[in-house]
Assembly symmetry: C2
Homo-oligomer: 189 residues x 2
């Protein structure tokens, strides 16, 4: 497995988090799932609006298969094995005045990052997918795109053996690298 | 100071992070600022696109005052004391095909959360502000709204004494609470 080398020393949790596709069928305890949402809960948001919502299903639910069907085919092939699947949704409008909240996506992304980092504290992994069918997901969740935006589907669970993946995905089953900070950090002098 | 009580046990870092307005004038070492950006670097993003950018100024820069002027008045009054000010920006289009990236804000929010959590590992605090002048910020950064979105201005530094704030802000100088997970987490059964 590729080693991630940070350019400067940071907490290990950031490089220890990556997005596998091979998930073990071992169930995640309901109380552990609640810890993921609890971490997300404390994320900061514009006006402390907390625009995020989480909709989740576990593998033992009769609606698990329906959730899987809302993903694109490639993601269905592996995410179907994850013991928990979550949709992370942002509310488009501020609750206090019903006007558009331009920070809903940004703040919901912050909540997602907290969830992903808390997962690693419990030996859990997460994989966020943009590859889902927007209309199918909205319909599955019973939401209206005027008021809600589905940002990502998240697979969560314990790490599985990559032999469960097809050959193409097996080759990709390792932590991804990043561009250098020199490419995205600018000091104003 | 208000105590934050999580509903279920999570890593302390999530409740230890909050957004003060009283920042000490103690400078933040350049190498420590780089750790903040490094943590952001490892955030996940759609297609590993890494759409985020960070533009920062330190208190000793001749352009620090110009940065402060791009904030709304209320934020100017306290953020001017923060030893580092950062604009976090998202690139609107995918680099690989120049098409609109609907996840740019969400992914940039994830990078911001990583930065904020790494800060607390080094006894630093951050405060993200939506209260900045969008056009003035774009002009200050030399960016075009067709290609970039400024999501937040971030004050970063060590905690200061709240007596430095005006009376109204002194009263607000404590960690904010959150709504219950019951209000934003839905189990699909």
């Amino acid at each position: 497995m590729a080693e991630r080398e940070p350019q400067v020393k940071i907490a290990d949790m950031f490089t220890d988090r990556w997005s596998p596709r091979a998930f073990s069928s071992k169930p995640v305890k309901e109380s552990d799932l609640q810890c993921l949402f609890e971490a997300a809960r404390w994320a900061p948001s514009c006006y402390n609006e907390q625009p995020w919502q989480f909709y989740y299903v576990t593998a033992d639910s009769p609606r698990h298969a329906k959730f899987v069907e809302t993903l694109v085919d490639l993601n269905q092939s592996w995410a179907c094995n994850a013991p928990a699947l979550i949709y992370i949704v942002g509310q488009n409008n501020f609750k206090y005045n019903s006007k558009a909240n331009p920070w809903s996506g940004f703040d919901t992304g912050a909540a997602w990052m907290s969830l992903a980092l808390q997962a690693r504290q419990m030996d859990l992994y997460t994989h966020a997918m943009a590859g889902f069918k927007q209309n199918a997901a909205m319909k599955f969740l019973g939401l209206d795109k005027k008021t809600h935006t589905v940002y990502a589907a998240i697979a969560a669970g314990y790490l599985g053996d990559k032999s469960m993946l097809n050959t193409d995905l097996q080759e990709k089953e390792e932590p991804s690298d990043r561009i250098s900070t020199a490419e995205f950090v600018y000091k104003i002098v």
